[in-house]
C-alpha cells in the first residue's frame, strides 16, 4: 500500500466575484520512503497542493472534491483533533522562509521541547535529550548551546537545519518541503540538499519537494510531477522527465535553461505567460503558448496517457515527438 494516495483532488478559491479552480483533478501516489518532486512556475498550484495535503488551506480556499488518503485514512474527512495528531507527528512541513516557521521570541530549545511534549508523554529532560540527538543528526555543532539561542542569533543555513530537525522531531512518515532552499545561497543550498537526501534515505521518510528549480528536483527526487495551471501535465521517473520530457511545456521549461544553449546564443524561450486562475483557456491550458496546438487542444482537456516512459497529458504527444526538430534535439 502506498503511503499517500491522492485521488481527483480539486481545490477552489471563493473570490469576490467568482470561484476559481486552483487545483483540478490532481491524482498521484507516493510509496513509503519515496521522494517526489512537484515542479511548476508560480501560479501552477504546487504550493496549494502542499497545503492541501496537510489540510492547511484557509479561506477563501477549500477542498472541493477528492480524497487524500494518508496511510489509508482520508485527510479531508479528519476532525481537528486527528488533524493535529497528523500534522507534525506523521506529516511535517518545511517552508521557504525559516524565519516564518520559527517563533522569534522563543529559544530553539523551547520550541523543540514544547513540540515534543505536546505530542508525546515525555519529561522535559527526555524531550531535551531527543532534541539534542535531532540537532546532531542535522550536523549542528554544539547542539546544547544552540538550544539556548533565539532564531535571530543563527544564520540562514543554520535556521533551515533547525527547521529540518524540528520536522524530523516526531519521526514523521512524510515531509512536505515547499521551496526549502530557495532563500539560501548556492553553497548552503547544496549542503542542505545533501542533508535532506541523506536523512530521507536513512530514516525511510517520504519527501514531497515543491520547487521551481529543475536542477534541485533532478538531484533530490526519484519521481516528478510537472504542474501547469492547476493540473498535472506530466509525471514519471525524474530521470526520464529530465532527459526525455514529452510534454511541450516540460520540454520548453528544460530547454529554456541557460545551460541548454551555447553561451551568448538566444535562449529557447516559451512565449507568453502562465494564465491566471480566473482565465484558464478552454481545452489544454497550455494551448496558447504551444506551437503544436490544434483545434482539439483548444476544445478538450487532454487525459494523461503513457508515452515514452512517462505519463503525459497532451493530445499531440505522438505527433510532436515525431517532429523533426525534436528528433534532432534528442540526438
Amino acid at each position: 500500500m502506498s503511503l499517500l494516495s491522492v485521488r481527483d483532488l480539486t481545490v477552489k478559491f471563493a473570490m469576490r466575484d467568482q470561484t476559481v479552480t486552483a487545483l483540478n483533478g490532481i491524482s498521484f501516489d507516493l510509496a513509503k520512503g519515496e521522494r517526489l518532486g512537484i515542479v511548476g512556475e508560480s501560479g501552477a498550484g504546487k504550493s496549494i497542493t502542499g497545503f492541501s495535503l496537510m489540510n492547511l488551506l484557509s479561506r477563501p480556499g477549500y477542498i472541493d472534491t477528492g480524497k487524500i488518503l494518508f496511510e489509508g485514512e482520508d485527510v479531508v474527512q479528519m476532525n481537528d483533533k486527528r488533524l493535529r495528531n497528523l500534522r507534525g507527528n506523521r506529516m511535517a512541513m518545511i517552508f521557504q522562509d525559516p524565519m516564518v516557521t520559527l517563533n522569534p521570541v522563543l529559544t530553539i530549545g523551547q520550541q523543540m521541547i514544547e513540540t515534543l511534549m505536546a505530542h508525546r508523554k515525555l519529561s522535559h529532560e527526555e524531550a531535551r535529550q531527543i532534541a539534542i540527538v535531532k540537532l546532531r543528526e542535522v550536523y549542528i555543532p554544539s547542539p546544547e548551546e544552540r538550544l539556548e539561542q533565539y532564531p535571530h542569533e543563527l544564520s540562514g543555513g543554520m535556521r533551515q537545519r533547525i527547521i529540518i530537525a524540528i520536522a524530523l522531531l516526531l519521526d514523521p512518515q512524510l515531509i512536505i518541503a515547499d521551496e526549502p532552499t530557495t532563500a539560501l545561497d548556492v553553497t548552503i543550498q547544496a549542503d542542505i540538499m545533501e542533508l535532506m537526501l541523506e536523512l530521507c534515505q536513512s530514516n525511510q521518510v517520504g519527501l514531497i519537494l515543491i520547487t521551481h528549480d529543475l536542477g534541485v528536483v533532478s538531484q533530490m527526487t526519484e519521481r516528478t510531477l510537472v504542474m501547469y495551471a492547476g493540473r498535472i501535465i506530466e509525471s514519471g521517473r525524474t530521470r526520464e522527465i529530465i532527459n526525455d520530457p514529452q510534454h511541450p511545456y516540460t520540454q520548453g521549461l528544460i530547454n529554456a535553461l541557460p545551460q541548454q544553449t551555447v553561451p551568448g546564443q538566444r535562449l529557447k524561450q516559451i512565449p507568453g505567460n502562465m494564465p491566471g486562475l480566473a482565465s484558464i483557456p478552454a481545452g489544454c491550458a497550455f494551448n496558447p503558448r504551444c506551437k503544436y496546438a490544434t483545434d482539439l487542444c483548444r476544445s478538450r482537456v487532454p487525459e494523461a496517457v503513457h508515452y515514452g516512459g512517462v505519463e503525459v497529458a497532451c493530445h499531440e504527444v505522438q505527433r510532436l515527438n515525431s517532429d523533426e526538430d525534436r528528433q534532432e534535439a534528442r540526438a
Partner: protein, 347 residues
Amino acid sequence: MSDAKTDRPLLEIKNLEKRFDLDQGFLETLKFKQGKIVRESRSVHAVNNISLEARKGEALCVVGESGCGKSTVARLVAGLLTPSAGEIHYGGQRIDNLPRAGMQPLRKKIQMIFQNPYASLNPRMTIRQALEEPVRHHYPNASAAEVRDKVTEVMLSVGVDPSWAKRYPHEFSGGQRQRIAIARALTVDPEFIIADEPISALDVSIQAQVLNLMLEAKESRGLTYLFITHDLSVVEHFGTRVAVLYLGSVCEVADTATLFSSPKHPYTRALLSAVPQLKDDRPNHIRLKGEIPTPINLPKGCPFQSRCAFADARCKSEKPKAIHQPDGSMVACHAVEEDRLDAVAAG
C-alpha cells in the same frame, strides 16, 4: 566620445570601498566596555578595495552570495550611494564625486534595471506616464508627438503592446513588468546598463524571455552591461567577463569561458561545484566549512580563510592581492600564487 579612447575601458572602478555605519549619531557610538565608557563606531564593510573595469560592448557579470557586496557595487556605480573611498570613472570622466547637476548628462548614458519588478515601477503611474516621464525630463524640448513616438518605439522593441499604455503596473505579470522596467531604462537611449539581479524574481520560462530581450538590446543598441547575479548558469550564458566577489572583495576576475573551464580560486571552485546540475544524479560538490562571516568585523588577511581548506598562516595574516595568471584571469589567492592548490588536490 572620440575613437582614440576606445582602448580605454568604458567603466573603471578603482580601489572602491563602501562602509555603512551601524551607529549613527554621537550617543550611539558610546559603548560600555570593561567598566569604562568608550567611543566606538561599528560599520559594515560592504565593499573593500574593489577594482574592476568594463569595456565597451562587454557584459561584465558580478557574482557572489548574499552579503558579498555585489548589489552595493551596482548602487555605487549607479550613483545611488557615495563611495567611502576609491574612484569610479566612466568614459574617462570621474563620476563618483559629481554633483547632481553634473551627473545629468550621464544619467542618460547610465541606466539601471532592478531586481523586483513589483517594486521598481511606481504603482500610481500608468505605463505611459512611467515611460514618458524620463523622456520629458531629459529632452524638455521634445514635442508631445515626439515623446509619444519614442515611447511607442521602445515599447515595441521590448515586446510590450503599446495599447497597454493606459494600464497600471498591478495589471501586469512579473515578466511583463520587468519588460516595462527595461523599456523605461531604454527610453533615454543609454549606452551602459546596470542590471541588479534582473531575472531572479521571475519564473523560469519568463527568465529566458527577459534574458533574450536583454541580449537583443545589447546587440541592437550596442549596450554595455554590468550584470549582478547569484545565478552562475545565467553568468555562463550572458557574461563576457565575470568577477567573483566574496565578503566585499574580488576573488577572481576572468573571461567567462576561462572561469568556467578552469576556475582557480578555491571559492570559485566551490561555488561552481554547488550549482545543481540537471544531468548527474549525485550531487558532488566541494563542501565549505562554516558559513559566511558577518562583514562587521572582517578577519585580518584573506576574507575567505575561515572557510578555505587551503588556508595557512600567511592567509591569516596577509590579504592576497589580485595577480595576473597566464590565461589572462586575475586571482587573489596565496595558495594559487604559491601553486599549493593543485599540489594538495593531486596529492
